[in-house]
Amino acid sequence: MSGHPGLVKRNHWVVRLTHWLNVIALPLMIGSGLRIFNAHPSFSRPGEGKFALNPWDGHEVPDWLTFGRWLGGARHWHFGVMWLLVVNGLVYVGFLWLHGEWRDVVPRRHDARDALEMAKFYLFLRKEHPHQGKHNALQRGTYFMMPVLGALIVLSGIAIWKPVTLGFVTVLFVNYKWARVVHFGSMLALVLLAVVHVVMVFAVDPYSLRSMITGWYNPRLSPEARNARPFTNLLPPTEDTAA
């Protein structure tokens, strides 16, 4: 601690390791999944016509978004890397539970109100950054939803993988067809959150990147200390205010 004046330890190495493993595993899973999807780019069964909920039903995803080159190859990747993702997810959630850090992400009573205040601040309807702990309420919601979506993706994936042997999982999603819809839809939701997350890291709190690599964070550079909205007050506050 003495070697890092003014810094606080923010992210345990387990959190950092599982975070970066996700950064590797998720694109592999999404890319290979989209390659598999392209073999039958529709949620309709043969003869059913277009699937109404997908305006692009029947259209393939562009090749550059896919991974694995062909259906068989993508399946090998998907069914291989899935174990990395599942084990990684279990380690992360298990760590949060045992280490008590689930308190940082599990919704609290005033989270909805606090999230609204954050949104107001970002939309210039409020002048001062709301007071926050480790994360603001919008982050808390995002970081809570990510593992929830992950679990939904794994469960609906099992439903598609083993619709007969593990048919009791498949019926949780009505049937095989709707399990595919949930598997794809929850992936899209996770991608949306991940993209927003990455944009916000660079637009609001690039200093947090350090804490996800080394673990150390400088609270004097926090968005609250800088009163930072996306793309504003990115530079550190002047020294006298920090002292």
Binding site: R16, I24, R45, G47, G72, G73, H76, V164
Partner: protein, 236 residues
Amino acid sequence: MTLDRRRFLTLSAASVSAAMLAACGGDAARLHPLLDLATRKNETLERKLFRSGSRNRPPVDAGVAGESFPSYFVSKHMPVWDPAVRGAWRLEVSGAVRKPLSLSLDDLVRLPRISQKVDHYCVEGWNARAQFSGVRVSDLARLAGATEDAQYVDFQSFDDDYHESWDMASAMHPQTIVVIAKDGHFLNASYGAPARVHSPVKLGYKNTKYLTKVVFMPKRNGGYWSDLGYEWYGGT
């Protein structure tokens, strides 16, 4: 300490992705050893999970795909059995059996038959329903007297060299049948006439059409799509 850890993380992330990307070639025969390992471990797990008691039961009021049920073959032209050229079609049940069988279509029709509305799960991701009627492969195994050596079953066809071998447990599943009729009519040429294998417990490509031989074996012998790089087990 911190720097070391940072460097370690960056390096390990880079080397893992590099190792994996090195295997991203389309050539299935050169699968990355890690993926190969995962495929083998997955098969072990899938065979442990398999239950002969599990059933595929689409809702009673669910319709069948009918003419929309997709079909394909691997020969240049649609395989049609021509008795003038090949003699009468017969289904041979042989290999690790005490009493090999050679069954005509009439013989098959006279055997105990079941009719089931089931899903067909294609490796591409779609499923389609059909009412399939035929003889359980487990009944054929019993009639032929499959021996202890019968650990795998190869389903062979006259669609060029198309065949797929199965594990015994999946072949003996009560919903695995040698189909002679679909949706109340004898199979037509596009659906694999005169007989095909069908089971909801295997992906579509394992279900050999244009069936000629059911061979019980001590060892597996791959299959048409399995040899092209799709996983051999192909279980649902």
